[in-house]
């Protein structure tokens, strides 16, 4: 089988769920896979580098990723990611509550 037949591309939202929080100008997004079998694929593909490349317009600072294998999840902590923070941002969503779905809009390759 070719690579294309062994894996398929899916929106992250179909295999994972997420919630965003804020503290000052730091956004944190916790991301969990529904099925533990997808943990490795997400770990390999949803990296800080990828987030910076995809969303550099808003995720302007450092991105740290904490791996929580026992919870089948990850915590992304992103500095300078809220356009100044809830009290300074001019974004309608000044808390960055919708950043969870920014991450979930990524596509990932999973094994069929």
């Amino acid at each position: 089988m070719s690579q294309a037949e062994k894996s398929r591309s899916v929106p992250l939202r179909e295999i994972a769920h997420a919630r965003a929080g804020d503290k000052g100008n730091i956004s944190s997004v916790a991301l969990f896979v529904f099925d533990p079998r997808h943990y490795e694929a997400v770990r390999a593909q949803v990296t800080p580098q990828r987030l910076r490349a995809a969303f550099g317009g808003v995720l302007r600072g450092e991105i740290a990723r904490y791996e929580l294998e026992r919870l089948h999840g990850f915590n992304f902590v992103m500095t300078e990611a809220l356009e100044g923070g809830v009290n300074s941002s001019l974004n309608l969503d000044s808390h960055g509550k919708s950043w969870s779905y920014l991450l979930l809009s990524l596509e990932v390759e999973v094994e069929v």
Partner: protein, 445 residues
Amino acid sequence: MSRPLRIGTGAGFSADRLDPAVDLVARGALDYIVFECLGERTLAFAHRDRLRDPEQGYNKLLETRFRALLPLCADNGTRVITNMGAANPRAAALRTLEVAGALGLKHCKVACVEGDDVTARIDGDTELPELGTTVGKLGQSLVAANAYIGADALLPALAAGADVVIAGRVADPSLFLAPLRHAFGWREDDWQKMGAGTAVGHLLECAAQVTGGYFADPGIKPVENLAYVGFPIAEVAPDGAAVITKLPDTGGCVTLHTVKEQLLYEIHDPARYFTPDVVADFSTTRLSEDGPDRVRVTGAGGRPRPEALKVTLAFDGGSLAEAEVSCAGPGARNRARLAGEIVRERMTHLHGYGGALRIDLIGVSALHGTAVERPVDTEDVRLRAALRSLRDEDAELLLWEVESLLCCGPAGGGGFRGHITPSVVTHSAYLPREQVQTRVEMFEA
């Protein structure tokens, strides 16, 4: 106490619903109900209220909540702990006494916890480490400063038999750790217990966010009867192991998924969650299903508490001006875009406004617009313009410019709305904990 302690959440933010709290006290056989109602901005605005009127500065729903709940709490032996005191816990406690008196509740003991307001300790030399500067060099007008105080500040009130404990800037999970320490006699340096109790508090502090609120995504994460989502209950054993659940016949759900999302909510390093009580470690937490709408939580740990307390300083942030107008039908996107260009041109070049000006096309690129603009085919677009300024005239000018589009802008624009809201900016400082002295005052109706 050897049986599990039953703690419920009555509010997870300042404007949270009342009916789930009433239901919890009526049917939940609760030992305690906790109302967590304070955020950085909420507290700053409460300080402004207090500056205008010394009798104000506490949560605006306090009376509404207590009129509905205090009789039920008295009937069911449920004690209340809250940070609804905000910038004025004493006024909140006195108002609570009046409410209790008017309801005919005899011998209702109300405790007021103070000492978190450290505004007097802040001066020009106070460092703001996250900004790498000092309050003096920042040059902004300080509204107030509050230290995050811990569970220990509440313990004397519980020991004195308070039915209602009213505080200000207690750290959110500490509101829940306090009754656990009081009931089980946990020592303040039993770091594992402090961590376990903090995990329970963290899971409960946002109320419905652990019972299916803020979770539903139709087709992916369905939640039943979300309109009547129940608020959470924790059944906590003397060793700190807990079950998170909710009342039967309420909406929402308690699952591994809802509990995981809340466990890491607004956490940075899951192995080092700093509170006034402990540096909690949630990375070792174990979750397991314990029947329908029941999730068992064990394994959280902790290390010695930080020596310094975090302080939130609020500064005057001027005014936030937001003005909107809509376009719909064929060409809506381009007409709205043109409207935005006109506003930017006139604000910048005609009026000489030099600050940040945000232009969003709601429906096309607004919330995620700064990060990514996706091609969409929409014929219903709302232009939003926003700025923040210390000068009221800038705010008023923006509203005028957007409203004037109704005759001078692109075709078919309608539905103008504009509003100006006062704004605060918050920054963090740290104080040695011995400089923050808390005190409890008891009142009886």
